[in-house]
């Protein structure tokens, strides 16, 4: 007979207020196999854990159940407790009587009855627990960083500085990301390029970092410590080794297209570097707009290149490399404003998104840093900034706060007023959010020193009125509907997840939230890890963030990756599938449903009626198996079983709950 212990946690009042602890403990004590049941205020505390340990020894428990919070919270804690008391850590089951019971029910009688049922199920499962042992998997000591913005650069540098090789993959022709587009940064007004370009250079010259710009990750297989990625290096049409970055080619190129880097406010050539400080400082040919590739005419860049670096015949290169860890730092996009026609964005050139305004402020931008109205190149006297365009908008935009707009708009006000001290800035806001070091002070400077008029309210409509823009809005504090004649209107447009984030998530096997931001493994305690082991998150791909937050998350992700890479071997989760060869019929349906190609066919020999016979059966590669259990359902006789969640165990849980 098994000797099961049950430990009921009060979780202070979190459980005890809604669940009758004494009644539950008493009922647990009478369950089959249970030889001891006790309770304590905080089972996860040192004292609580030592109570478990001493009960294990005193009562000779061979397994136990903790009725407490979600197993996603403290299963690992109590497994360690078991190990410390000499029990195999997989002889522990958790009954979730907090998140799934005391917190969601109000009636004490009902909650108590349910808690007892949940414990009965956990006891039934525990009775069928077996000792499990983790196996060792070797670790590939190289990291892949996806995304070459400030987050990706920081993560790559940190990992490389720890002595590991890093491949940094960036989709566009240069690293730098959105930060390279910015003029100054809040709240210090540091020049963005001045602090970013040294980092870009460092990443490019670091002996442990390999840059793959103009490249994309196409496929990722494998698992923690042993990922295998397929990277497509798109044909640059310019030889990275030969090019000196002299610039003759793009001067001569006759094709002009809108510059992505300048948010379409300026033109670039078909052969181009996105911005002057680009790394690598080597152009690419945008084949979709190049005359050679579209009409087989021209070729002037090839003719004029003094280094002979232009190569029209270059082809995409596909690499396959192994990595131990992956950092995802793919950044964000800006919301499309098609549904916000009332602001006349796209209809009038003087209505800009904040990112466009940033380019116009920037000395390397389309106006060379002169802040002029795009419509007539005249200096603006009145600029209206509108906050929360698409943010906090569950109807047409995104319900979340984009987090950075309050601050960058204060920055925009200051930069605008620095250029035109006599001009007036107006800011329509709903709430001002300045939680951050020196943020509130910075915002107050915009109001007090620079005289920006902050109007609590919204703009309802923006439309051209003569050569001005008429902004109709409201100041809700005074209760007046307002009209402002503006020269420019700047829309603090919501930040959103990259439009192809779901595809990347699928490729990596990580999950996204409802807004397509990548999901962290735990919102509080594991904020830089993805749900999939070995994949880490940095920056705005996980949710709106400013630069210091992105950088610190990147360093956090790097630290997590370094911890992983510095191990020679990893212990694999022993909750993997196993095949009972005597039951296996060899139909191999399990192979078809396995997402990790973890099941293979093997031939075994056995004796039947005295004759040696060969037959095929399925075999699980425990290093590849991630424990989803899909194979167990595809197996009709139940020959494949998932350790830790065996058919016997789940059946026992069902039976126990229904008892």
């Amino acid at each position: 007979m098994k000797r099961i212990g049950v430990f009921v946690c009060w979780c202070g009042t979190n459980i005890a207020n809604t669940v009758n602890i004494e009644a539950v403990t008493e009922a647990a004590g009478k369950m089959p196999g249970v030889v001891y049941a006790g309770n304590y205020k905080y089972m996860c505390s040192e004292i609580g854990q030592s109570k478990i340990k001493s009960a294990i020894i005193r009562e000779k428990l061979d397994r136990f159940v903790v009725a407490s919070c979600s197993p996603r919270m403290h299963e690992s804690t109590f497994r360690k407790t078991a190990a410390a008391a000499g029990l195999n850590p997989y002889l522990v089951e958790i009954a979730n009587i907090r998140e799934h019971c005391s917190w969601v029910h109000k009636n004490k009688g009902e909650a108590t009855a349910k808690a007892i049922a949940l414990i009965r199920a956990a006891v039934a499962k525990a009775a069928r627990d077996k000792e499990l042992w983790a196996t060792q998997i070797p670790v590939e000591h190289r990291a892949l960083v996806i995304g070459g913005g400030i987050g990706g650069i920081q993560a790559a540098l940190d990992i490389a500085d720890a002595g590991f090789e890093v491949d940094l993959v960036e989709r566009t022709p240069s690293i730098g990301g959105h930060m390279a587009q910015l003029d100054k940064t809040f709240p210090t007004l540091d020049c963005s390029a001045c602090i970013l370009t040294p980092k870009m250079g460092e990443a490019a010259s670091h002996p442990k970092i390999t840059l793959y710009t103009y490249s994309e990750v196409e496929k990722v297989d494998g698992y923690v410590g042993n990922f295998e990625a397929t990277i497509r290096k798109k044909a640059r049409s310019v030889d990275l080794e030969k090019c000196t970055g002299c610039g003759i080619c793009w001067e001569k190129c006759p094709s002009r297209v809108k510059s992505e880097f300048d948010e379409a406010l300026s033109m670039r050539k078909a052969i181009y570097i996105p911005f002057p400080q680009a790394v690598p400082n080597v152009p690419v040919i945008d084949r979709a707009s190049c005359r050679w590739f579209t009409r087989e005419k021209c070729g002037i860049c090839r003719k004029t290149c003094p280094a002979g670096a232009v190569n029209f015949d270059q082809e995409d290169e596909v690499l396959q490399k192994k990595y131990g860890a992956i950092v995802v730092a793919t950044g964000f996009d800006v919301l499309d404003l098609d549904d916000f026609g009332e602001y006349s964005y796209g209809k009038h050139p003087d209505v800009l998104t904040s990112l466009e305004f940033e380019r116009i402020l920037n000395s390397s931008g389309p106006t060379g840093g002169r802040l002029l109205r795009p419509s007539n190149q005249s200096p603006p006297k009145n600029v209206v900034f509108i906050q929360c365009v698409g943010s906090r908008d569950k109807s047409r935009g995104k319900p979340y706060c984009s987090k950075i707009c309050c601050m960058y708009s204060a920055k925009h006000v200051i930069l605008f007023k620095e250029k035109y001290p006599e001009a007036q800035a107006y800011v329509f806001y709903i709430d001002i959010r300045t939680a951050g070091k020196d943020f509130e002070e910075f915002h107050r400077r915009a109001v007090e020193e620079y005289g920006a008029l902050y109007l609590k309210g919204s703009a309802g409509k923006v439309f051209p009125d003569g050569d001005k823009l008429l902004v109709k809005g409201v100041d809700s504090l005074s209760g007046h509907a307002l009209e402002i004649e503006a020269d420019m209107v700047v829309l603090a447009t919501a930040i959103k997840a990259k439009s192809d984030a779901p595809q990347l998530a699928r490729l990596l096997g990580i999950s996204t939230d409802t807004h397509a931001f990548f999901m962290e493994a735990h919102p509080k305690l594991r904020p830089v890890e993805a749900h999939t082991a070995g994949i880490f998150l940095a920056g705005a791909c996980q949710g709106p963030k400013d630069i210091p937050e992105t950088v610190s998350q990147a360093s956090g992700a790097a630290a997590k990756a370094i911890v992983l890479l510095s191990k020679e071997n990893l212990l694999s989760d022993p909750c993997v599938s196993e095949v009972n060869e005597s039951l296996c019929t060899g139909c191999l349906a399990c192979i078809k449903v396995c997402p990790y190609s973890a099941i293979t066919e093997k031939t075994i020999e056995e004796k039947i009626h005295g004759k040696a016979l060969q037959r095929r059966v399925a075999e699980v590669n425990v290093a590849l198996c991630q424990g989803c259990g899909s194979c167990t359902v595809s197996c009709r006789p139940g020959a494949v079983n998932l350790k830790g969640f065996t058919n016997e165990q789940i059946m026992a849980e069902v039976d126990a709950i229904c008892l």
Binding site: S582, L583, C584, T585, G586, C587, L588, A589, K592, V593, I608, H609, K611, L613, R616, S634, R636, P637, G638, N647, E648, M651
Partner: protein, 317 residues
Amino acid sequence: MKQLSERIKEAAFGSLSSGQVEMVIGWQKGPLWWQSFPAFITDPGETASLIWDPFSVSNLNKYLLNEVPKKKIALFLKGCDALGFNQLLRDGRVEREKVLLFGIPCDGLVDPARVEATGLSKGLLQVKKEREELVFYYKEGQRKAPARDFYYSKCLSCRYPNPVTCDEMLGEAVPCQPLERFANVSKLEAASLEERFTYWSRHFSRCIRCFACRNVCPACSCRECIFDIAEPRWLGKAKESGETLFYHITRAYHVAGRCVDCGECARICPLGIPLAELNRKFIKDINELYGEYDAGADLDKEAPLLTFKSDDPDVSA
């Protein structure tokens, strides 16, 4: 038909006496008119006892699972049997190179029950098929009737009368004029929930759990069946409506996407439970939801439950 019998005997004799195979599995006549039994012959001299008649309904290929051959085994396959053979092959239960297959085109077999029902069975000695007719032999003489009137209903909706696989075809291909096979499923679907429940509970309440439907099924070939496994005990032993339902749902679900629609389960059921309709419900749904799929015939397609499309119809309520 006589000619086909002769060719069977020749094929069996030839393959055994040449040493190409060590055993032939075919049919032999039993003492009564409706009895045609499986025969396992290793001696070329006994091949003369093999027959082919309108009662050779047994699917022989499941016997392969019991035999541990050194050499090949020769086997006779009707159209439906060939589909079943392919399913066994797909499930890894037979090795193609260890069997020699003789294909038999078959336009239908006679259901003894239908003969009984017409009263023709009284004093009946023998039944033979001549072209499209059955000839009933009595002491007093003989009577004739159209053969199709006596066929198993599964044969009337047969879509593969000619074997889709074999090493040698014995006989000419026969034409295929199947009746609509989903007629009964559609009729039931149109009925109300309670009508359907009553219909099936009446049938299932008669089930004696003899497992004949499973044993005969070419898609049920597990070394040890889930219903027989003691730990965990999935299926209880009690005669209990819940258990019986579990059995029937699970049996049908396990052959979903694998059932070749040979209809053997319904034919073999001693209580006449229309088991094939359960399988056909799955076939019909699979065809509607995931595209036409014929288990046993569509060898190049993946089994529908072992694959997916990202835009499959949703199950979420």
